[in-house]
């Protein structure tokens, strides 16, 4: 029995003690009536965990948040879309700090209690005048999770948000709310995925960090559109303790229940990003098993998922397993091609590295569908990893031409 349940229409404002607001500042386009600034606030003491892009070129707000996470009593988040504030030098850092200060002054916080994110064009200075002008509107807080979710969207075509009620093992209950943006990791001029998760759970910092790190590893770090890692990727989880549950500690059944819900939320939002990937037409669940180590399995999964030739095969709905073999071979992991099996859903395509003898039409019945599983067995060990990805469509290239 599931220990958590969806809350219809819920999002980041659903857990107790969180409110948010949004405004159209004209950052996306001057004068446009598109939401592009959002503010989230909780008046309560929090614990928070965050993960950031490992790209060596980091946006200014990422650097500021890495500083602020030292203090770890994050009570407000300010996010703009339309400008990534990346490759903007010293002025970018000044602007990101000003966004924190604006928010801190409004709610009587210290700057270090504010988390700042940006998503949009790289290399263009932040239009701070327009942001300042729209800030007061964004800071009018309410309980509707949709406007703030829309304010962080860029090339996304659907708002991606969710909330659940979690029954902990001890009978107590907490809520988790979330929103994310990103049409895959590839966004024209934008290149960002962001995810914000709120919870009213009381939870020890070590435990929250551990569960967040683990859940991110198996969800957001397992999706790829084509491997273009962004300068701004950020996942933040804030817990304000307003559920008044016994604080959750590591290695307890309560932590397990909380993790199960957190993992499920992250996985569903990560999959929603892939389904909303720019111009993609298919959703592929790619499992590599029989590997010596989980890292090997993940490395091969990423190589296959990012192969442009494999992506073209998916786009065409074809079962051309030879392309999968060639991508396995260049992943940089030692393999024995005579032990490799490949299946489309439950249909054998290759055995011992050569054709399994299944008629192409039978295989195509599996691959010519909107969603299917590709399973690679390396025949070397017990480790496995699953990644989620999508095809490459001719419209993608067209979509990514700049005006």
């Amino acid at each position: 029995m599931a220990t958590f349940q969806d809350i219809e229409g819920g999002g980041i404002t659903t857990p107790l003690g969180f409110q948010a607001g949004a405004a159209a500042c004209g950052i996306k386009r001057p004068g446009a009536d598109k939401l592009d600034l959002m503010v989230l606030f909780t008046p309560h003491e929090t614990t928070a965990a965050a993960t950031f892009t490992s790209n060596r070129v980091k946006a200014a707000p990422v650097r500021v948040c890495q500083e602020h996470m030292q203090g770890n009593d994050i009570r407000a988040v300010i996010v703009n879309s339309g400008n990534a504030n990346a490759c903007t030098g010293a002025q970018g850092l000044t602007d990101a700090r000003e966004m924190a200060t604006l928010t801190a002054n409004k709610f009587g916080l210290k700057s270090e209690q504010v988390f700042v994110c940006s998503t949009g064009v790289i290399g263009t200075p932040m239009p701070m005048e327009r942001l300042r002008a729209g800030f007061e509107t964004a800071a009018q807080l309410g309980d509707d999770p949709l406007p703030p979710t829309m304010a962080i969207m860029t090339s996304d075509t659907v708002a991606k948000y969710r909330a659940v009620d979690v029954t902990l093992g001890n009978g107590q209950a907490v809520k988790i709310g979330a929103m994310t943006k990103g049409a895959g990791m590839i966004c024209p001029n934008m290149a960002t995925m962001l995810c914000f998760i709120t919870t009213d759970a009381a939870i020890h910092l070590d435990c929250l960090r551990e569960l967040t790190k683990r859940a991110v590893k198996y969800t957001f770090n397992r999706i790829t559109v084509e491997g273009d890692m962004s300068t701004n990727d950020t996942v933040l989880v804030i817990a304000n303790g307003q559920a008044k549950n016994t604080p959750i500690e590591s290695d307890t059944s309560e932590a397990a229940a909380f993790y199960e819900a957190l993992y499920d939320i992250m996985l569903s939002l990560a999959k929603a990003m892939i389904r909303d990937a720019e111009k993609a037409t298919r959703f592929i669940e790619l499992t590599v098993r029989g590997a010596s180590t989980e890292e090997d399995a993940h490395t091969i999964g990423k190589a296959v998922a990012n192969s442009v030739l494999v992506k073209c095969m998916w786009n065409a709905g074809q079962p051309y397993w030879g392309r999968v073999m060639h991508a396995i071979g260049y992943a940089g992991v030692e393999v024995d091609e005579t032990r490799i099996s490949i299946d489309f859903n439950d249909v054998p395509a290759a055995r011992e590295g050569i054709a399994a003898g299944t008629p192409v039409s039978t295989m195509r019945d599996e691959t010519d569908s909107k969603e299917h599983r590709l399973v690679i067995d390396l025949g070397l060990g017990e480790a496995s990893a699953t990644v989620y990805t999508t095809d490459l469509n001719e419209n993608f290239v067209e979509f990514n031409l700049l005006d």
Copy 2:
């Protein structure tokens, strides 16, 4: 002054003592009148050097050639297009060995003196009956380099071959002839680049291997269409000594003259492959300098060249340097973004990691051309590397859909 000169219309049969033939066997398509088998032969003792794909999934002929290169008196080469003989298991090895034996029997050689290559579809058994039927025609040798060059083409739109006369430092002269195939490393169902080079130079084995390895490193290993490394890539250089020059030894001015010509031939053919890349519209010379090591420079060059977002930028002819920054950042090499400069030809795009202030229209004058240079300076050291690549066009994806 150049120490070598082009020989009009020359190719692999131009050096003394080499002849070749070609046939249409119906391997590309049964009954089709397309050349798809070629045989090259020299009756003289040779020294030879070869480099092969580092893909862990290797085609059967690659494995056979790796064995045969132990003996190192290669006197014949047999190559088919239309079938890669990859992922074909034990039968594939048997078929590759039979191709060697057929050729050896015809010319009175040992099997180990024959080099075997295949390019085409992966995972489909070799149509040996059709190949056997066409072999005798292919083995009718002549001096025209064009038919054998055409017989190894797959999605190539132009035949790529060349020959030069090399004046060695000691006044003696030798010839080098070459042919290559490959429309980039990405070929639908094919996935192969092959290059065959003949020379009538007398050259010591150690010297030939050293010069070949070095030339391949800076030419064929520096091109990428989108990084899909094939199962069949092979470069072979055969020297038969018929120029009767004093055998060339390492670290002499003769070796330097020979290398200069060999490098120029390989570079011109490698560039010709990029210019003929499937549906590509632009040619980009991408130099990374100011790196701590040449390997770092090459790693960053490959990451930028293979970024789908950067390729879309090139396709559009746009100077969006922020995409270049983000790809530099995820290459896996330590960089300091505040030291990075980016130039399009000689026009500054970024300085110290932020916009250089050049108007977009000025930069676009450089990037909206069929060929341009992208220069990245990391500001860290003295090492550099240049890679050659191309854009990603919406027609590429369409072209790579299978029927």
